[in-house]
Amino acid sequence: MIDVRELRFAYPDGRQALDGVTIHVTAGESVGLIGPNGAGKTTLFLCLCGVLRAPPGSIRVAGLDPAAMSERKQLPSHVGVVFQNPDDQLFSSTIGEDVAFGPLNLHLPADEVRKRVSEALDRVGMTGQDDRVPFHLSGGEKRRAAIAGVLAMHPEVLLLDEPSMFLDPRGRRELIRLINDLPGTKLIASHDLALVRDTCSRVILMDSGRVVTEGKTEILKDAALMDEHGLEAV
């Protein structure tokens, strides 16, 4: 479902953010992407969803190559991204409008869009809150609304970037439940190793733009390995 081979990416200032990253995620898998700040997790996500231009042939997500213009246009209906800060994602005046934003961009009929909005809000536990405005929501509600906005697109692949950021313990618990209930292939980038342990079956450790190791969630218990890469074992 996600196939990345020897992906290299440098920002215009010359900083090499990704240096030969190779990962493979199969359909239905839930994989944690961990690593310290600057490891390249967010850059990898932005390459996967086609926001940053990766070299042709280095990425295939849901059968599409983000480097090819025609295939990149199809990505939003296959790959959903939940960004670190939900305020970046909730740009509409009401939650309902925001959740409808993606399906409307897919040019779906109005009835289908309304159905998807209602389903997505139900799924994240925000039934009937269409008319609420984003700046009235708590951190947890904003996160759930942002996830609803992505779920309404019915993506096969879900990329979650630091999903537990800005959440209190209750919000975090609710999020873990929600992630575990979500269908499809999930790639979760996080510093929150406990969240990764509770939601993922496999872990990929990145540092300095490279994949250091990958394996079962047991590696999260390896204190020496985690400490070496600026993380804390759980």
Binding site: V51, P76, F83, S93, V113, G149, M153
Partner: protein, 253 residues
């Protein structure tokens, strides 16, 4: 007090039930007509008409009063100076180079009535529907797409920037910063402004990325359905007719 009109849930009223496009068009023309008025009589009539809309539109009293109070406070300097700037008419009071004329006084009163009428009409329009509905109506009426999108996104993010400014101010205060007319204070204010601009730019970039990831193609699509009914047309004709009548009355004087 918050300037955020979205804190106000629009109340059901005769105005709120009208199609947003017809309502926006009617109020835009009424505001334009009111801005053209120059004489006290039509301006007073325009103010009465605007207050009638406040009543018809069931605009919450406190919400309206708070905003009009701020407007009046901002108007005071102009209202104080205006009567002294007109030479025509009978001189009511004179002292050295200063003179107050009846025409000048009427000018100030007209200015106050016109301004309050204009803002009252705008507030009534804002309170009659959520902003995104009014902006969707504006788009349907042919307002440029970019302008509508900018307004919508500015409205959404200006409060976040204000929050960030609030946090920066707290951070400055807890480190002993106090406003003063010193080079250090000016430099600090400049740095805070720069920080806000950089954060605003970062946020804009992130928002653009989030929009692209959800298939944004440069067009804001909406589920809001507009439907014209006879009552919408009647309201439009009535408001525009009255506004036109006031302009004609003003021109005849």
């Amino acid at each position: 007090m918050s300037l955020n009109p979205e804190h106000l849930a629009p109340r059901d009223s005769i105005l709120a039930r009208r199609d947003a496009r017809w309502r926006l068009a009617a109020f835009a023309l009424a505001i334009f007509g009111t801005a053209l008025l120059r004489t006290p009589g039509p301006s007073a009539a325009a103010l009465c008409l605007a207050l009638l809309f406040v009543w018809i539109g069931r605009v919450p009293g406190r919400w309206y009063r708070d905003r009009i109070t701020i407007l009046l406070l901002a108007l005071i300097p102009f209202l104080v100076v205006a009567p002294f700037t007109v030479d025509r008419g009978e001189r009511l009071w004179e002292w050295r180079f200063l003179h107050l004329t009846d025409v000048g006084l009427l000018f100030a009163v007209t200015l106050a009535m016109k301004t309050v009428a204009l803002v009252t009409l705008a507030l009534t329009l804002l309170s009659s529907a959520p902003l995104h509905v009014t902006l969707a109506a504006a788009r349907k009426l042919g307002v440029p797409r970019l302008l509508v999108q900018l307004t919508l996104l500015t409205y959404r993010y200006v409060f976040l920037l204000l929050d960030e400014l609030g946090r920066l101010r707290i951070a400055l205060r807890v480190r002993g910063f106090r406003n003063a007319m010193t080079a250090h204070a000016y430099r600090t204010v400049g740095q805070v402004t720069g920080t806000l601009l950089v954060r605003g730019s970062d946020r804009a970039e992130h928002v653009a990325q989030a929009m692209r990831c959800r298939g944004f193609d440069g067009h804001f699509h909406t589920l809001i359905a507009f439907r014209t009914r006879p009552a919408d047309v009647l309201m439009f004709v009535w408001i525009v007719g009255v506004a036109g009548g006031l302009v004609a009355w003003d021109l005849c004087r």
